[in-house]
Amino acid sequence: MSRVLFFIGEGLRALRRSAAPGVASIVTVAVTVLLLGVLIPVLQTTGGKTDEVRDQVGLNTFLYDDATPEEIAALETEIQGIAHVESVEFISKARALEILRDRLEAEDKADLTEQLPGARNPLPASFKIKPDNLDNLESIRSALTPPGAAGTPEPISPIIEEVVDSRDEASSIRTVTGAVKWFLIVIAALLVIASLLLVGNTIRLSIYARRREVEVMQLVGATNWFIRWPFMVEGLICGFIGGAIAVAILFLGKEAVVDPLADSVNLISGEETIAFAKLVLVLLGVAMAVSAIGSGITLRRFLRV
């Protein structure tokens, strides 16, 4: 116990005696953590957006107009039985027209449906099928239209006119969202690596300034861990202060900028992003661990006898 107190005292003393390297480490850690703190929620938000886009991709099964309600109900049960189907939604002819009207209205275009002759509804009824996973779209499709005797796809029910999937659309969405995600991950990884190197370098400089001291300690008979602990305590303290500064800035930014925007801008939907308290804990933990371990590893070079 007295050892632990001694090491903590030593770490604090070193910070008091030479403030400049400590301040450098603190600033570096603060900047790094700030970057991470912004990046983590952004990454998660784009993840959320991607999911939203994926939600809209499905399989539309258009039906003949003369399908009876019994036939439709039977088909619905059948579709629900297909593997990988997450949900099935029946869209009647009237509903389809309604959707079209809404969409036109939303895009500020004239309501073309009023010009339909004799108020005839040309839109077919359909089933909107959502797969549990975008990649399973194809297997559902082949379940709906298995190859018949002639080798050409035959629908499982006579009321099915056509099965349309937005396959090309889906795959392009998949590529784009995948690319965006990977792009962000790569940038995040590069940033993290750069910051780790930066923190490591700052620590190395501060230790390099004291390598004579380390040498003397060794010659007086200090074990490597006896020399190392105060440096790690110092790193821990710098990491904590730097992390705390970054968290404070993040908090101010969240209160002043993000939260007011969150109500009006849909992009910053708070639900999928990490809870702030959890984020703070993660960031502080990372900051302290990185600077303490960084100190320990850097010292190893000077500790070789």
Partner: protein, 277 residues
Amino acid sequence: MARHQTSALLRERGQRRPEHLTERRARPPIVELRKVGKVYPGGHVALERVSLRVDRGEFVFLVGPTGCGKSTLIKLLIRELEPTQGEVLIAGRDIATLPDKRIPHLRRRIGTVFQDFKLLPSRTVYDNVAYALQVIGASRAEIRSKVPDALRLVGLADKTGNYPDQLSGGEQQRLSVARAFVNHPPLLLADEPTGNLDPATSVGIMQTLYRINKTGTTVVVVTHDREMVDKMRRRVIALEAGHVVRDQAAGRYTDEESTREFAARLRDEMGVEDEAY
């Protein structure tokens, strides 16, 4: 005055050499070199086939011109360097066989006064000495009682709060001695402890080393100050170009001198009037 204070740390034990020297000859010598050679990377030969032994309680001078391998020899003893051939034995153990983890323990048993002092610049005089005790896990109480004693021994009792850069060269040297001795190592190595010091201060340091030797500690002093060595009348090992060229007692070998008598004679012979400290 510091000199007259009786230190609990260093009570002189009469006028005789420590008993274990004469009675227990069977114990291995505290330092033994067997055909030790050291060639530095680049081909410079610092030591060549050096064999010597130092028994417990001895006071030995290691002399020779600059570059003859004296400092290398000291570095070999604390395994700051490793010999390229031969064996270095401390208390009968070949230190090349020590695992790296045990090196700090070896160094704790050997007090070393370095040529360049090797003080910790960010620590006060007191803390520099205390560090040598903290390293071995001494309790606070132990540190509080031993550090002032050691500082009194070297005459720095009134400078405890100063930092090394606020001390004179001689004071830094004495601080280095205090740190080397504070945990009572059985072996004390001093590399040029009087280098660049005025004669009065040199005598003071030698007196301190002599006093430490009287408590039973083996003392090995490296120096190129032949005059001082001749007057000390101790065993002298002379090195030249990496070889031992002489190993004998210089002058009348007087065992029976007290520290006071020793210092008085030394001052007299060196022509030093005042006390060093």
